[in-house]
Amino acid sequence: MADFISRISVVCFAASYGVALIFEASRLWFRSGVRGITMIGFVTAGLFAHSLYLIWRSTTLPSIPLSSAFDWYLLAAWLLAAGSLWMTLSNPRTPVGLFVLPIVLALIGAAELSSREPFPQSPATQIWGVIHGSFNLVMSVAVVLGGLAGGMWLIQAGRLARKQAPIQGFRMPSLEKLSIWSSRMTVIAATSGSFGFLSGIILNVVNQHRGLIGSVPWTDPVVLRMGALVAWLIVVAATSRTLRKHAIGRRVTAVLSLVSLSMLTLSILWGVLGNTQHGLPPTQASVFLSAGLVEDAS
């Protein structure tokens, strides 16, 4: 069994999600009685392999479970794939996978480009690291789901404004449902993002006190970007709340949720493709700094 699990690779579940996405996209071209069940079968198979892979990594590596950037992206992809499966089962006529699965695949791609080295850890900072990572994970998933709900809201509103019948195989949920999703996700994203940022500060202060880092890297590009994103999410949540009794409130929330998703995407891309000392072991970070490989904000 252990041998079987150890042979599961990222390609296995990425391929399952990819095939499921192709099946989902085929809704737009032709009708089929078996497509739905086949698509669900592939997502379930992918999710099963994905779960086994994460379990295998968390039990075999000598670090805190899932504590590298690689694992973090895979965990986010797992949450979204599970959410996609649940939403597909509860809304079989809505092409949820068409929106969520590309993001799942993109996150798996981001994981492949990210470091598999665990984040630095000591007994004192371990717990703050886990809290920081978990809140950021919830925030990211909420931003993605909120952004997708916002996007679907705009598509549905466009269709209704043009007075067109729903497209075959592309029936969106109602505006009412999408509004509820996007505004709830906005609040969850802002709250978890704030706690994630705060726990990140505490983590750095503890590291500084322990002498693990020289100073808190306030000017690290990742810290700045995440700070800006959290501030933006708070503004979005507040705006959404303020405009909830205004006729344009739902549209504004949808647009802002979509902007949040774009900002998160850019932030992730920048993090994956750029260099940073964020999350690196202190010694490695100083080597990077001295070699000029990291954007030094000072």
Binding site: R31, R159, K163, Q168, S174, L175, L243, K245, R251
Partner: protein, 424 residues
């Protein structure tokens, strides 16, 4: 062994004659009982809906069921209509054409509204009534089972019955449901008490709407409709207040000027606190100023908007027609193949019986000559004979089945009869 039908539909029979020829279910039972007396041995199903009257008959014997013109006369006589008046209005078909016609009818391809789903239930009911009346047999039952299978395939494999065609159903399912997830917590306001409003409200009630208010200039008509639909009535003078409170408005007044002007809506929209408002303006001329459509949170649909969707759905259904007809043709070929193959069964049975008889005689002779054979050996030899006979029979059976797909294999059957000296 053949099938036939006679009858007419909305295209061939004028409504006056259709009304005279229509059968209630009691009258249909009586007609079927009469059919049994008049044509003993034949099987029959009578399909009578508001758009068609058709009598299907089948007979497994060589003489066959009554021809279409005789069936048409029978229908006329049953309803006391002068047969000379029926003349050209009622047509009919025999064999493959009759089967294909029934499959098209069951799939809704011959209906006034292409792909309408009610016809399947009506075909099923007609068959059940014939079963109760004792006029069904193996042939007509197989025919109706195959018709329902063809209808199911058309529904599942094409979109011919999928697109909605009535304005109220489109208004509710494609537009109001696009804005609201549920209707049980929404307030529906009906302005006017027209026929289309009542139909729209029925769809909304099916979708879960419970809080319905009706306002009309004539309070009596509003009360009548409210009573029928379990709704409440309101005062027409409070129109502005009612719109402020409503989530969905259905308007069908006969007013010649807009009932709600752009300026009136602008005055009250602030009081709505940003709640979305769906307006289904089904009146001609329109009850709501079209500029209201541009107000934030308002989803206004006029009868023209809904008619356009209706037309495009109708075109989409038409596009699916060739695919649906292909299915009907496939199912007809399949059914006719099976039917023709059934006609070969007596010949095959005779052939098999002849071979078995010869085999038995030869085995008896063999076992008498070899008295020392034990039971096991005898059984083995017997099984070998049976296998040999089955293998020898296989090629002619395959040829018959293959020939049956194209039509009754009369030539092959005749050849087998002559070659093996089989009786007619």
């Amino acid at each position: 062994m053949s099938l036939t039908f006679a009858g007419g539909n909305h295209r061939t029979v004028p409504i006056e004659l259709r009304e005279k020829l229509a059968f209630s279910s009691e009258q249909a039972s009586q007609a079927l009982a009469r059919f049994q007396q008049q044509f003993p041995g034949s099987e029959a199903v009578l399909l009578s809906t508001c758009n068609r009257i058709e009598l299907y008959a089948a007979d497994g014997e060589r003489s066959g069921p009554p021809p279409p013109d005789e069936l048409a006369m029978f229908l006329a006589e049953c309803r006391g209509v002068d047969p000379t008046h029926v003349g050209t209005a009622l047509g009919g078909e025999q064999g493959t054409a009759a089967v294909q016609h029934l499959f098209c009818v069951a799939a809704g391809l011959d209906s006034m509204v292409l792909g309408e789903p009610q016809i399947v239930a009506q075909v099923k009911q007609a068959w059940q009534l014939a079963q109760q009346s004792g006029t069904t047999g193996p042939l007509i039952s197989e025919l109706f089972q195959a018709a329902l299978r063809a209808a199911k395939r058309v529904t599942n494999e094409t979109a011919v019955g999928r697109e909605r065609l009535s304005i109220p159903s489109i208004a509710v399912a494609d537009f109001a449901s696009g804005v609201f997830e549920r209707f049980d917590d929404k307030r529906v306001l009906l302005i006017g008490a027209g026929k289309m409003a009542a139909e729209t409200l029925r769809y909304l009630s099916d979708a879960g709407a419970r809080n319905i208010r009706i306002i009309n200039r004539s309070i009596e008509r509003a009360h009548d409709l409210a009573e029928r639909l379990g709704a409440q009535t309101g005062d027409y003078k409070n129109l502005s207040h009612e719109i402020v409170e409503a989530d969905l408005v259905v308007s069908t007044t006969g007013a010649t000027e807009p009932v709600v002007s752009h300026s009136l809506y602008q005055e009250i929209e602030g009081q709505r606190q940003g709640r979305p408002l769906v307006i289904l303006d089904l009146a001609v001329p329109r009850d709501f100023d079209s500029r209201i459509s541009g107000r934030p949170g308002v989803w206004l649909y006029s009868i023209d908007d809904l008619s356009q969707t209706c037309d495009s759905n109708r075109r989409r259904r038409q596009k699916e027609l060739p695919a649906a007809l292909t299915i009907v043709e496939e199912e007809t070929r399949r059914f006719m193949g099976e039917l023709h193959h059934r006609s070969t069964v007596p010949v095959i049975e005779q052939l098999r019986a002849g071979w078995e008889e010869t085999g038995e005689l030869e085995l008896d002779r063999l076992f008498r000559k070899l008295p020392k054979l034990d039971e096991n050996s005898q059984r083995e030899i017997r099984q070998a004979f049976e296998r040999y006979a089955a293998k020898m029979l296989h090629p002619p059976m395959v040829s018959l089945r293959s020939e049956s797909k194209a039509g009754p294999p009369h030539g092959l059957l005749e050849a087998l009869r002559r070659l093996f000296d089989l009786k007619e």
